[in-house]
Amino acid sequence: MLKINKLHKSYPIGDSSLHVLKGIDLSVKAGEMVAIMGSSGSGKSTLLNIIGMLDEADEGEYILDNVPIKNLTEKKAAIYRNKFLGFIFQSFNLINYKNALDNVALPLYYQGIKRSERVEKALFHLEKVGLKDWATHLPNELSGGQKQRVAIARALAANPKLLLADEPTGALDTKTSHEIMDFIQSLNDEGKTILMVTHEEDIASMCKRIVRLKDGVIMEDVFVEQVRASQYV
């Protein structure tokens, strides 16, 4: 599904440059649920951004679903992001003047799907996250957990191959975090491949594999016994 070889990335800081990723090798198979952990500055977000095609590596190889991701034009990157990837952010990143339905339908709009079909698909995904009745509500009328569920519905709408989550529970309380994790686990059970950045041990333990980063290199890469979130809900 995803293969990364000797990935390097550095950011210029003034005259010198900060070497953030120092040769990352990672390969993820379809259906996996991987947590990327590390303290701040370890490069975990940079890695996720590169995987998400929001940023480009300086060196190394990145193959997503047998497509080498290299030298992308903005247009091509947009198409790949739309086709392959679903994003879930810590701060939800919903568009605040669009209601839940329109937010979920947005990736479909960029796929060029016509309106009636967009609404139908968006409603289906909203129902899946249990928010069908909230379809016409604006984001500021929703709770944090609801917002994240709308964001998940949006990430699912385009039926992506890979779900990328950047601290999906970072802005939520423990109870809501567990609800969201429960839902993400159920998506993984259905076969979705999920890659998530977190610094919370208990959230990471709900994944099937933990990759620990430190100073731009992978310290540890282990498969773990998944803790089901449903027991806390």
Partner: protein, 409 residues
């Protein structure tokens, strides 16, 4: 471009920034309003000039004679200069195709009678070319023609108001009116844009008048039009040479301003043309200046909107928005605000011009108006203006990197 969803997005965005859109639209609206009003007024002024000269052909030259004011060639001052038929023929021969139409005039004051109606009128005894010089419009019958001149026929062409005065509600054509006791057949009735006085005139063949009222070949005035292919400057040069040669012909000093007077409408036309040109130019400068201020205003607003929506644009890009779709949203929003505001301004401007028209008549501004071609021109200008205003902000928006936009502040 005509994607309904795209327009939904744009209206949503305008709706979100209603006050700001309104305020920056105001500048554009004001620019176009100012332009429409100024343009209308300039048009009104031009109309006034046009009507002032509607009476006569604009390429007319009038030649009058008087008494000499200076001695010359051994002749005393105070000598009366009298034009004759031969002078008209001489001008025609001398200047050939520089002269378009030429006529002489003899003035007479008569009492005209028809049945019980009686009134005093001025007669202009003329050559057939006179019709074109004066822009006379024959409504019924015919004008004086060459055979009238040759045969010295006793016919007249009367003004619309003469017919009204003397013939009341009946038609004058074919009837005989008496001018100082001599009967003339009415062969035509005319109208003239020069006003009531021009329509209270009676035209008759110059040869008839010369024979009956003086038995000579004197003429009071010679009028001609110069070849309209000539430029104003060429026409003015032509009338200068004409004046010089006429003065020589009558042995008048070249410095004598009174003996022979040549008035060339080209002088006035040139001045008016320059005036309208400068006026039009000023209107354009002011209009465009204000429009540019409007463009800057809208551009400013769009840059602000892009800045404010950086995060949203980043989200859209992360979800698969192409740079093109971002550019078209910003560009179309800018064009839309510009066009809407522009049309409001145009509408208000046209309304102001329309309603103030009757009041302005006092100030030499007649029928101020904004033509359809101006409206179309303004629309095209607005679309271009909106595109210019939106270009930089749109470019800026398309360069936003999703990673920068999504960073949590």
């Amino acid at each position: 471009m005509f994607d309904r969803d795209l327009w939904r997005e744009i209206f949503q965005s305008i709706n979100m920034n209603r006050t700001r859109s309104l305020l920056s639209g105001f500048t554009v609206a004001f620019a176009i309003m100012l332009f429409a009003i100024l343009f209308g007024l300039a048009n009104g002024l031009t109309n006034t000039f046009d009507t002032a000269f509607a009476d006569d052909a604009t390429n007319s030259i009038f030649i009058n004679s008087g008494k000499t004011s200076k001695a010359s060639n051994g002749l005393q001052a105070g000598r009366r200069i009298q034009f004759k038929n031969e002078d008209q023929d001489w001008i025609k021969e001398e200047f050939g195709d520089k002269v378009q139409y030429i006529t002489s005039r003899v003035y007479l004051n008569v009492t005209a009678t028809f049945k019980n109606e009686k009134n005093n009128y001025t007669i202009r005894a003329i050559n057939p070319d006179h019709q074109y010089l004066e822009n006379t419009k024959v409504t019924y019958g015919r004008y004086v023609n060459a055979s009238d001149i040759k045969n010295k026929t006793k016919i007249v062409v009367i003004g619309r108001l003469v017919e009204e005065d003397l013939f009341l509600k009946t038609t004058a054509i074919g009837k005989y009116i008496s001018l100082n006791g001599i009967p003339y057949k009415v062969v035509g009735v005319f109208s003239d844009d020069g006003g009531d006085n021009e329509e209270r005139l009676i035209y008759m063949p110059i040869s008839t008048a010369q024979q009956i009222y003086g038995n000579n070949d004197y003429v009071d005035q010679i009028n001609l039009t110069y070849n309209p292919d000539m430029s104003f400057d060429a026409a003015i040069g032509f009338s200068n040479i004409l004046t010089k040669k006429l003065k020589d012909r009558f042995q008048v000093s070249q410095n004598d301003q009174r003996a022979i007077r040549v008035r060339n409408l080209a002088n006035e036309s040139k001045a008016i043309n320059q005036f309208t040109f400068i006026l039009g130019f000023l209107v354009l400068v002011i209009g465009f200046g204000t429009l540019i201020a409007g463009i800057v205003g809208i551009s400013n607003m769009m840059i602000f909107i892009v800045k404010e929506r950086t995060k949203e644009i980043g989200i859209r890009k992360a979800l698969g928005a192409s740079p093109k779709s971002i550019v078209s949203i910003i560009l179309l929003e800018s064009v839309l605000v510009t066009i809407l505001a522009g049309f409001v301004g145009l509408f208000i401007g046209m309304a102001v011009v329309e309603f103030s028209g009757p009041i302005l008549e006092k100030y030499f501004i007649k029928d101020p108006s904004v033509s359809l071609s101006t409206v179309i021109g303004a629309t095209i200008t607005l679309i271009i203006a909106g595109a210019i205003a939106g270009y930089l902000p749109a470019k800026k928006a398309s360069r936003i990197k999703p990673i920068v936009a999504l960073r949590d502040d």
